[in-house]
Amino acid sequence: MPLLGFIFRRVLQTIPTIAFILVVTFILVRLLPGDPASAMLGDRAIDADVQRINAKLGLDQPIPVQFLYFTKAVFTGDLGNSIGLKLPVIELIAHRLPVTLMLTGMAALIALLVAVPLSFVAALNRGGAPDAIIRGTFQIGLSMPVFYVGLVLLTVFAAKLRWFPVGGYGQNFLDDLYHLFLPATTLALSLSAVLMRNLRAAIIGVVGADYVDFARAKGLRARVIMTRHVLRNALISTVTLFGLSIGTLLGGAVITETVFAIPGAGRLMIEAIYGRDYPVIQGLTIALALLVSFTFLLTDIVQAWLDPRVAR
């Protein structure tokens, strides 16, 4: 089966990618000016305290030695303890990453639910009023910064109309969905604009193709032509774009999580970088790199399924 072999090859390719990211992150965070003890103790720190803490963290060792210890620990599943929060990194990731996954997952879903039908409406009415309205609206959405859209949505739908809570995170699954709706919509807005532009163009291209004319000539029903011939072929490039956008979505989550007071992995990463919390930065990078690699893998698999030539 070519698809299974393809998946196996792709998984193998992921391993060196992760290893490379790991080494680069490990070295880069240590090359940044400032060290965890100074970042933690702030301006008032006296030399003795800074040295004592850095020595306790093993940061007085040469970088290659630190890397050996780190690699050994990673292979035993130990990502160390957060320097600032004094909690195991694995626990922090287990706590924060699902929040970000849910946020980005919801955003991706909303983006798809909005982009797919609207791009059909726009493409099939090319040049008409619906096309102009849809494209115009999304152009505005695309050009507004995430934090601004977030604040506008919060002010109108949460503070004024009271339909949603003003940020924060829920107590159970349904409550989480309710809390995440506005932030996910904020995140989804720019992604859906990008997806819609791409899908619209693809549909326009496919609708005019010979095999669609042929399908019509065979007398197939419009709905069958649309789902089986037009959508499937138009989706190929959009799936790639969607997969690649997951990285961007995770980046956008950092800002959205701050504006909406969501305790996710994005905010944890920012705080860790400001605090030079090396173990958290490293642990989160591994987790996010795995996540993005997995998304790319899924994207490739879906693409191979849509277009079997890819797997060959």
């Binding site: 940044l32 000016p33 400032g34 060290d35 100074s38 970042a39 933690m40 103790l41 702030g42 301006d43 008032r44 720190a45 006296i46 030399d47 305290d49 800074v50 600032g84 929060l85 004094k86 909690l87 922090l92 706590h95 924060r96 604040l151 919060l154 002010t155 949460a158 503070a159 009271r162 809570p165 003003v166 940020g167 924060g168 995170y169 701050t258 504006v259 909406f260 007071a261 305790p263 905010r267 944890l268 705080e271 970088i273 400001y274 605090g275 030079r276």
Partner: protein, 525 residues
């Protein structure tokens, strides 16, 4: 209106007033929006304001600071007496005090807690109680602190978070072998001596405190404090979101309101915009070493520093950056700091004088220098651009270098920075902390500036042992004169703590040292 009616009305009014003052209401949970979460709630091992400013709600100290942050009032101790030779303090513990688990707070707990706070190997705050030589107990209620030398700040130090009392046995029985490991496991399920107990903590999101049923203090209604059933701290890093949450009624209070929003919130319905007096000062630190790297440094010239001070229009900066909320500094230490001296703003704006001083210093045509600014921090960027324009008028070309905090701290600690913006808040109701960092060169080289005054160093050393209040006041007056006239800073402004509360919130206070005191807070139903 005849006299009788007037008298009756006045009496009714009086009764009404006194009634409302007494009518505290019990119960309810106060939701408070914080800009950042706490990190490590151990009184001794913490190192950040996010911990310090809430710790007193969990752990009580022997003596408490008064609401103005300058005085003392009884805490777990009802009485204290400094010996005539100034070399010991005898404290009497309150009758019947208990931890939140119902176990008694004993002199042994106090002895252990104070020794832990003074241990130079533990945490970064031990210098505040560095004079403690030993702590002993006598009977069921007495604790004696023996001092290495006389220490005029010892009583103030006993109000500070790091001298809070923890249960020795429960702490020592916590999981772990080292003190830090034990502190970690203890602080996950702590036993309180303060008005509240930690109920749950979802790091980065929320922290819930419930009332300590065994707390000793009594409320205005004669029943035990606190009035509240609990406090929910919610972490909302974005300023605008924190305010929106308050306006929508989802939270009852929000800290760190941006200065730009203060006026608007003062007018808002249902919101009580508080500006609590603080010890916070904002200033520019200058590196005064003759050379930075291999380059000559004009900032080493005292006249140049004075010129830059005179060329700084502080009132304009206060208007632009703090929207009028701040006020001019009258000494390097805030006016809320004990022994502060000064009644008029330092270096009133005088461009002619500044130009003359530059000429006298031999820098009539100016020079080029740089300032480290915290990237993305609107207040700092505002100050920096204002200074760029103001100092441009005396020929100084100022390069602004935006960096993140750890990068800035690195340059600061290495002494390779040229200038940086900074802020300071006292942790103790005594001037010795700020003076040791700003003035006394052995601590951190006078803010890592390379500035040193032998006279000021001697004054500080003497003041650390001086128990005569008048003499110590005089020492501090001299220290402030020296530093204010030749020191390595450009004082900018002092600001209060801007906190927005729902009008339902009563009795809450943030003292000048920053501590958020919820012990006597209550919610109007």
């Amino acid at each position: 209106m005849n006299m009788l009616v007037k008298a009756a009305l006045s009496a009714a009014l009086l009764v009404g007033t006194s009634y409302s003052a007494l009518a505290v209401e019990r119960g309810g949970t106060l939701k408070y929006g914080r800009y950042a979460d706490s990190l490590f709630l151990d009184p001794v091992l913490n190192d950040a304001n996010v911990d310090i400013w809430v710790l007193s709600n969990l752990y009580d100290t022997l003596i408490q600071p008064t609401d103005d942050g300058k005085g003392l009032k009884p805490g777990l101790a009802t009485e204290w007496k400094v010996a005539d030779d100034g070399l010991s303090v005898t404290l009497t513990l309150r009758d019947g005090i208990k931890f939140s688990d119902g176990s008694p707070i004993t002199p042994a707990d106090v002895q252990w807690s104070l020794k832990r706070a003074a241990d130079p190997k533990k945490g970064i705050w031990n210098f505040l109680v560095g004079s403690i030589q030993d702590v002993t107990t006598a009977g069921d209620h007495t604790v004696i602190i023996k001092l290495k030398n006389t220490d005029p700040a010892i009583l103030a130090a006993l109000t500070v978070f790091n001298t809070a009392i923890l249960p020795m046995k429960a702490f020592e029985a916590s999981q772990g072998t080292t003190d830090e490991e034990k502190a970690k496991s203890f602080s996950a399920h702590p036993i309180s001596s303060g008005p509240f107990v930690l109920q749950s903590w979802d790091h980065g999101q929320s922290m819930k405190l419930t009332r300590n049923e065994n707390y000793w203090a009594k409320g205005e209604d004669g029943k035990p404090l606190p009035y509240l059933d609990g406090i929910d701290f919610e972490v909302i890093p974005d300023d605008a979101t924190r305010i929106l949450k308050l306006q929508s009624g989802e939270i009852d209070g929000a800290e760190f309101i941006p200065y730009a929003r203060v006026d608007e919130l003062k007018q808002a319905d249902g919101i009580d915009m508080k500006l609590y007096p603080s010890t916070r000062v904002e200033y520019i630190t200058m590196n005064v070493r003759p050379k930075i790297g291999d380059k000559d440094n004009p900032l080493s010239n005292e006249k140049v520093r004075q010129a830059m001070n005179y060329a700084t229009n502080k009132e304009a900066i206060i208007q632009v950056v703090t929207h009028g909320v701040g006020s001019q500094m009258t000494s390097f230490m805030s006016s809320a700091t004990p022994l502060h001296k000064g009644d008029k703003p330092l270096y009133a704006y005088d461009l002619d004088k500044a130009k003359q001083l530059m000429k006298d210093a031999g820098f009539e045509s100016g020079f080029q220098t740089s300032l480290l600014v915290l990237a993305g921090n609107q207040d700092e960027i505002g100050i920096a651009t204002a200074l760029q324009q103001m100092w441009g008028q005396i020929g100084i070309k100022l390069d602004l270098q935006q960096v993140d905090n750890p990068s800035r701290t690195q340059q600061y600690r290495d002494g390779t920075f040229t200038m940086r913006e900074a802020a300071w808040t006292d942790d103790i109701a005594d001037p010795n902390e700020i003076a040791s960092y700003f003035v006394y060169s052995p601590t951190i080289g006078a803010l890592h500036s390379g500035w040193k005054s032998d006279e000021a160093d001697k004054l500080f050393e003497a003041s650390q042992k001086e128990t005569d209040v008048a003499k110590r006041t005089d020492q501090y007056a001299k220290m402030q004169d020296i530093y204010n006239s030749s020191g390595p800073i450009v004082p900018l402004y002092e600001t209060p703590y801007p906190v927005a509360l729902s009008k339902k919130v009563q009795g809450f206070v943030q003292i000048p040292l920053g501590n958020n005191i919820f012990g006597a807070a209550w919610l109007e139903k």
